[in-house]
């Protein structure tokens, strides 16, 4: 232990002698780990948010397809589904999109057919009349609207429709409700000029959760022009979007890893004359190759471990304290309204271990291999270089 501490002392003295070079290296290394860690934390948090909150999404959503595209579904289809054995509840859903040319933003209009009730994540109340609405915090934010104000939307007949804002979804729910405008279902039907015999799609609840995929097959059998989407498929969609091989991870992780490889390659090929001379002197005064490799191991570990810990702390603060300002432009794309992140931290330790392995191990190898090459050569030649 004491011997290792002394070797570490020597290694740290060596690092301090080349402090500017090593400081630059530490900053670049920390930045790389922070970039990779930020993507890891953000995707994991979004994945957790989706997988935990969408567990209450409809067990089955039945859409109608016409000419290969999503079409409005006849309410009569709901009756066909309702009489299938094992079906608990069938609810036609009315929802759609509304593009506002002034702010150039898309909003999601959702119809609500049940009796208004109190929601923990809603300030104010749900719409209780046809001329009332509740809005997401993104909608309220972009127009500066408050509860009690009136929202003017242009309906399918190009007529202005006024809705009093009775509720505003809290910012903590903005990942789910940011662009929502909630109206009573009948009011939304009139707004979209949607036939009373049609709905956007049908939400289905099944008695036995194990039978959902069987029910989906039955629905497809009885109504061949439909497309049933199960809750598991919804959850799987988000798992796919934010997994290791997703576009988001690839976009940043590959760039950061390439930058890191260049850094490591430069380190591996560019052992300086001073370092060679130092190794030569140590060999000449009787140090073993194993001792020199131990010094280099501690040097590499000191830099990589410090960079790894600093990088992860930076990534954590970037994502969970600052709201990931470096990554949101990538997610935001051309969206005008984008949720403010209040993500609950979620960490996958397996992914952290992989990140540690991908960053620490190559750097250690790149430190040890060139040092070993010099250490096994003639000390005189090493001192002369």
């Amino acid at each position: 232990m004491s011997r290792q501490l002394k070797i570490l002392e020597h290694a740290l003295s060596g690092l301090l002698r080349r402090k500017y070079k090593n400081l630059t290296l530490l900053i670049a290394y920390t930045f790389t780990v922070a970039a990779l860690g930020s993507v890891l934390f953000l995707t994991q948090a979004l994945k957790t948010e989706a997988s935990e909150s969408l567990t209450e999404a409809p067990e089955l959503v039945v859409q109608k397809l016409a000419a290969g595209r999503h079409d409005l579904i006849p309410i009569a289809y709901a009756e066909t589904i309702r009489i299938l054995p094992g079906i608990e509840k069938v609810t036609p859903r009315v929802w759609g999109y509304y593009y506002d040319a002034l702010v150039k933003a898309n909003f999601t209009l959702v119809g609500f057919a049940e009796k208004p009730r109190d929601l923990e994540l809603l300030e104010g109340r749900m719409p209780g009349a046809a001329d009332e609405c509740a809005v997401g915090s993104g909608v309220a934010g972009i127009f500066g609207a408050e509860i009690g104000d009136r929202l003017v939307l242009i309906d399918a007949h190009e007529q202005d429709q006024l809705y009093e804002i009775t509720g505003r979804f809290k910012a903590s729910s903005s990942l789910l409700t940011n662009d929502l405008i909630l109206l009573q279902e009948n009011a939304l039907r009139e707004f979209f000029s949607m036939d009373r015999n049609l709905a956007t799609d049908i939400a289905v609840e099944v008695y036995n959760p194990l039978e959902v995929s069987i029910m989906a097959q039955k629905v497809r059998f009885h109504l061949p022009d439909t497309r049933p989407i199960t809750r598991n498929e919804i959850l799987h969609t988000y798992d796919t979007i934010f997994n290791w091989r997703s576009g988001m991870m690839l976009a940043i992780a590959v760039a950061a890893l390439i930058a890191f490889c260049m850094l490591a390659w430069d380190k591996a090929t560019g052992i300086s004359a001073g370092e060679k001379r130092e190794i030569g002197i140590l060999k000449a005064i009787g140090w073993e190759t194993a001792d020199i490799l131990t010094i280099k191991f501690w040097e590499g570990l000191a830099v990589s471990l410090s960079a790894f810990i600093l990088g992860l702390i930076t990534a954590w603060l970037h994502v969970f304290t600052l709201g990931a300002p470096g990554l949101t432009p990538i997610l935001k794309g051309w969206s005008v309204i984008f949720p403010t992140f209040e993500l609950a931290p979620a960490v996958d330790f397996y992914q952290l271990f992989v990140l540690a392995f991908l960053t620490i191990a190559p750097y250690l190898a790149c430190t040890l291999i060139p040092a070993w090459k010099v250490a096994v050569s003639d000390p005189e030649q090493a001192m002369r270089s």
Binding site: L5, K6, E9, L12, E49, E52, S53, L54, E56, P58, V61, Q63, L65, G68, R69, H70, N106, T108, V110, F112, E120, L121, F169, S172, S173, L175, T177, N178, L180, A203, R220, P228, I229, E233, I234, H236, T237, Y238, I241, S246, G247, A251, A302, S306, L310, L312, I313, W316, L331, K332, G333, W334, S335, V336, I337, F338, P339, A344, P345, A346
Partner: protein
């Protein structure tokens, strides 16, 4: 030995700080029950992350290749389209070729 002790204390403090952040994150109230209630009552199916196009706003509800259905052969032009992969949910139809004559 001062440097090595200083380094070990510094690294240990960093590791402790990181562990504290992880622990703090896990102990935070995520309001998950309230969110689940919201999802159940409003029958929500997707996160309001990418609102730039309908097939990115509701990736789980979108048709496969919705982007290309707006015009045959059109290029994907929304940035988030490159992050959201199309999911072939409920798409089971297959093309069959029946040969006129067996060789």
């Amino acid at each position: 030995m001062i440097r090595s002790l200083f380094f070990m204390i510094l690294t240990g403090t960093g590791a402790l700080l990181l562990s504290a952040l992880f622990f703090h994150g896990h102990s935070l109230d995520r309001k998950m029950n309230d969110k689940r209630e919201l999802v159940r009552i409003l029958s929500l199916t997707d996160l309001a992350l990418f609102s730039e196009a309908r097939y990115t706003r509701h990736p789980s509800q979108a048709d496969l290749f919705s982007a290309f259905q707006d015009f045959p052969g059109v290029f994907e032009h929304f940035p988030s389209g490159s992050l959201v992969m199309p999911t072939p949910i409920g798409m089971t139809r297959r093309i069959k070729i029946i040969k006129e004559r067996q060789p």
